[in-house]
Symmetry: D3
Subunit: 115 residues, 6 copies
């Protein structure tokens, strides 16, 4: 099993528990809302996940990128489609997005190689 994927999911789960245990109402509601945002609506789930991914890439948030890569993988997004999302992010956000694209590409390979 992939190290990168397991590590990311493990840390994420552990720390989400720590945070939610503090019972801050605003944080709990924001996190619920976050889940709702990507539910099927006028746009389908895959489009929404790719919107979340490209937004995370131009804002250069590696963990957010990993999260949406995991979701996109489950939704059967192809590697060719994925790299077109990477291309939009690199053009809009510039070459500072490249290092994040490298880490995204690495994580995507691990998701694919788990198959």
């Amino acid at each position: 099993m992939s190290n990168l994927v397991n590590e990311f999911n493990g840390y994420r789960t552990k720390m989400n528990e720590v945070i939610l245990a503090k019972d801050n109402l605003v944080i709990k509601r924001l996190w619920n809302l976050d889940t709702n945002t990507y539910a099927a609506g006028a746009l389908d789930v895959t489009t929404k996940e790719l919107l979340g991914l490209v937004a995370s890439m131009v804002l250069r948030c590696d963990d957010c990128i990993k999260y949406h890569l995991g979701k996109a993988y489950e939704l059967k997004v192809t590697t060719e489609q994925m790299y077109e999302v990477f291309a939009v992010a690199n053009i809009v956000g510039g070459t500072i997005v490249i290092p994040h694209t490298r880490r995204a590409a690495e994580y995507w390979e691990e998701l694919k190689n788990n198959e």
Copy 2:
């Protein structure tokens, strides 16, 4: 005819001419590449425009937002779909995206009211 839409397009065209007349090769190629990025590929043109839009929204670039709103309008994106893109941008980017959402909503109304 809408003032906001005309003003944006007019200024954009005028200044693009000034810039391209300087013949800087890197800028000219980047702008060409920008056009290629949104061409149909493994992802369709509408999805790509919405990716460009959400990226512009979280990076809070009003003129970039207007450009992609214009394109999305031509591609018959519905208001309901558009607001789901706005929702992703607001959740990922936070409440600092709200003022840009106001201006995006205003521009979208003008595009629709031109009909």
Copy 3:
């Protein structure tokens, strides 16, 4: 009456109505949550408004800054306290925050001169 303050509040109210009329659930809930965030809790309301202000300043969102300036004014924050918030924002965010500080200072003067 101040032009800057009236213009800001007028446009904000008008566009919020346009947006909320579209009935996007995520946006509506996020906006509600935004209001809850600044309610009194373990921290008092003034501290929370100043936190919202400094966050808006380093993220360089002029309209967000105006909103929190208006709230801070209602809460009787003094000019001396206000400029200490400006100072934190300028040190953390650097000289790119200066132009936003100019506009914040102008808006603050108008709020004070309305008295």
Copy 4:
């Protein structure tokens, strides 16, 4: 003793020495000014540290966050107050602040568990 806290402080001290030894006047003065910014004035020290913290969170600077968490801990900020600062940062800055909130929460636990 906590690993995270020691590592952060150790690396910070070591590299600050390397940088200050180069005797760049602008950097030395900026760092002095940084210290002055958080001194008691019209706002008390705790409020100022929380302003510095929320600014660091929305700008997503993990090391800056750790620094202000350490200071806030010394100033006896409670966990409930701390999570209200986290909430403001998450609402203003959006879900891209969540991964930084996870690392902030982890560091805060280590500070508290050192007691």
Copy 5:
């Protein structure tokens, strides 16, 4: 005489006076330090102004850009050199820098046409 240039300088001078009159020590010292940063040293003044300009462009601060364009103009930077700075900013920062490049190009034309 150019409207853009006069307006920018006039507003800047007026608001700097308002801010400095409040006598916030941190802000005053930061502004002094800002001036020192661009003084001749191991790097010459023109290089330093261009560094300040490109930093302002990728951070997308229109007023900061105008300030450094004014300085670069006084230092006899050529249009060809200027567009190479624009090119670096557009490549590093991506297409979201384009609208700021349009406004920078417009301001540069006004500076040149004043001759």
Copy 6:
């Protein structure tokens, strides 16, 4: 030989190969263009690399910083000049640039100590 430098270059080369093998035309062309951007023109190569460096610093992209530090080192930029670039970045971008300056200083030491 330096660990930091080798690690950075090794990972960069490995992931660039993975990405380029996917044959996404936009990404390939952007990367070519990136190389062209720093070629000698109206501005010399060293000035352009320093522009790329300061842009990377204010955008707080550690890997981009390392890349330009490596280039600047090859171009015989002195430590005194380098710290003047760091100073511009810290003033324009604020104290959130400090942690990135620490890592930049560490990498620069390793480049120099390899001699």
